[in-house]
Symmetry: C2
Subunit: 324 residues, 2 copies
């Protein structure tokens, strides 16, 4: 669920009076999402999303996220566009939380990924990268390689309760991945820019097999562009049983290259980037798995799904393994 903070109808009416988007017609909490509280808001002028930012989002970073979404939307990316109030402000306060209204996007996220989703996804990702080039502000990736060792250290005792030998396996994977990481330890760097960094199926809406919306930009950051593809390889191209679907991967990469052809060094780096992406999601899931109280509203996701992916990518020697 995703309503941690409720909004009184009186407070909402007062809040809407700051905007020139018409009068309140309907207001319902949205069940999807785990980080923030989201509401579907209808006014006499149309549909919007109201987001209250909860404690895992750093308030000081919100202008960067809202600025990126504004920039991308203006460039034609189908992402939520922040709506300014009558004074031109997009980041406001409601019910004691930072709050913003964004445009509503049609579409349905794919509960089960099919081949037909992957090429449009790849194209949309490349379009996002291209559109982000002209957004100059930088946001460091707070869940990049430098964060993984401290994350693992905070999970060491719990890791063994999740699976015997997990701690040693992750240590070995680290020792392998980090020295190969582009831009670290004197390795040549790869093209960088604004990446989504969390483009899982529930963040991509489709309508008639076209991408109609990319949402939830609150992990977006400035990082290696091809790392965003590596995240999608992990998030979209494994079947429920953990087996890799090379058809999905081929379509994803073809779609991406329809818009933004990858250089030879980017293609060559995909296996290590995919290993890193698997590591990043494994570690945050492991952390949540160990640290989520039993009575929490959100059920943590199984970190071991990502151990399977990590092993697959460690065994994948070059980009041929991804169908290219």
């Amino acid at each position: 669920m995703a309503v941690y903070t409720d909004v009184s109808d009186e407070a909402l009416e007062a809040f809407l009076a700051d905007y020139a988007i018409g009068g309140l017609v309907a207001f319902r909490g949205i069940a999807e999402g785990v980080e923030n509280s989201n509401f579907q808001l209808r006014t006499t002028q149309g549909d919007f999303i109201l987001t209250l930012y909860e404690k895992r989002v750093n308030v000081r970073e919100l202008p960067w996220f809202l600025g990126l979404m504004q920039h991308l939307a203006v460039q034609g990316v189908t992402c939520p566009q922040p709506v300014a109030d009558k004074t031109g402000t997009t980041l406001k306060t409601l019910a004691g939380r930072p709050a913003a209204i964004t445009t509503f996007l049609p579409g349905v996220w794919p509960r089960k990924v099919r081949t037909c989703h992957c090429r449009p996804l790849g194209r949309a990702l490349a379009q996002l990268h291209e559109a982000g080039r002209s957004y100059a502000p930088v946001r460091h990736n707070s869940l990049g390689p430098a964060a993984w060792q401290p994350l693992l250290n905070s999970c060491r005792s719990g890791a063994e309760t999740v699976q015997r030998g997990l701690e040693a396996e992750l240590d070995a994977a680290f020792a392998h991945i980090l020295p190969l990481w582009p831009g670290r330890d004197g390795n040549p760097d790869l093209p960088r820019g604004q990446i989504h960094a969390d483009l899982f199926p529930d963040n991509v809406f489709f309508l008639h097999d076209s991408v109609s919306g990319l949402i939830d930009f609150y992990f977006a950051c400035t990082d290696i562009l091809a790392y965003d593809i590596a995240i999608c390889l992990n998030a979209w191209c494994f079947d429920v049983d953990g087996s890799f679907n090379v058809t999905f991967a081929r379509q994803l990469l073809q779609g991406y290259q329809d818009v933004r052809p990858l250089s030879a060094p980017e293609l060559a780096a995909l296996p290590v980037l995919a290993r890193g992406a698997a590591m990043r999601f494994l570690l945050t899931r492991l952390y949540d798995w160990i640290n989520t109280p039993a009575d929490a509203l959100v059920t943590p996701k199984d970190p071991l799904d990502y151990l399977k992916r990590l092993r697959f990518h460690l065994a994948t020697e070059n980009v041929d393994g991804y169908g290219v």
Copy 2:
């Protein structure tokens, strides 16, 4: 939250093909509600609600509920109207659950009850009762007085852990309420009909201080009409600190009597009906409080809120106490 069962986009598309309500445009889970899974569904023809009925609803009773909503909607009550598929069927199956599409209602439920809500609420309740007169099928109230003793018996050991002396206090309240209950033990009966039986603020949408929607009819049943008023006295007329708000009650009763004047026996019975209503919600909350696992998605509501209400109604000797 209220999405226990998710629906794949493929299954949804196939399901919608049975209807003549246009193509899929958007689909989001609704956070509100605790019994069933609800989704806001947009098609090219408008907005709808899709409900998947979860295990606490008896499938065999769904035709009664859907029939009542259909009947009330046709009579002009602003309640969800079941939408029939191309074959005229309203109750169908989706994702292995009984499922129905109903019309979307605008409005916002009042997070904080104000005086301006109570007279429109009373009128809407009386209109519901009047419109229900011509709906002949009967549904026994499975949470009526006959159910209270078994419910309490199943909570006896837990009751004392919630509050010392609670078991004895409830036994004494039973011994007082049941012999006075209209229609029992040779007591004269009161007018009966279709009642909502769960008309809490989150089931009533308002728009510009008018009632724009009554929702969630899955506790509706055939019972004493004035008992529905007694439920609203409990659900709407107590402040957060547990103190009774006689202004709200007066407005509620005035609104009701604007449409359907109450007889002297109905007015005289309000205190005992209100005690019974407090008992009913106290007992189901107590049961849920004791029996909800710590990791459940829904946080149980504090039963002691209703102990305060029960004590108030026990101390209220006649309808004057409700502002009449």
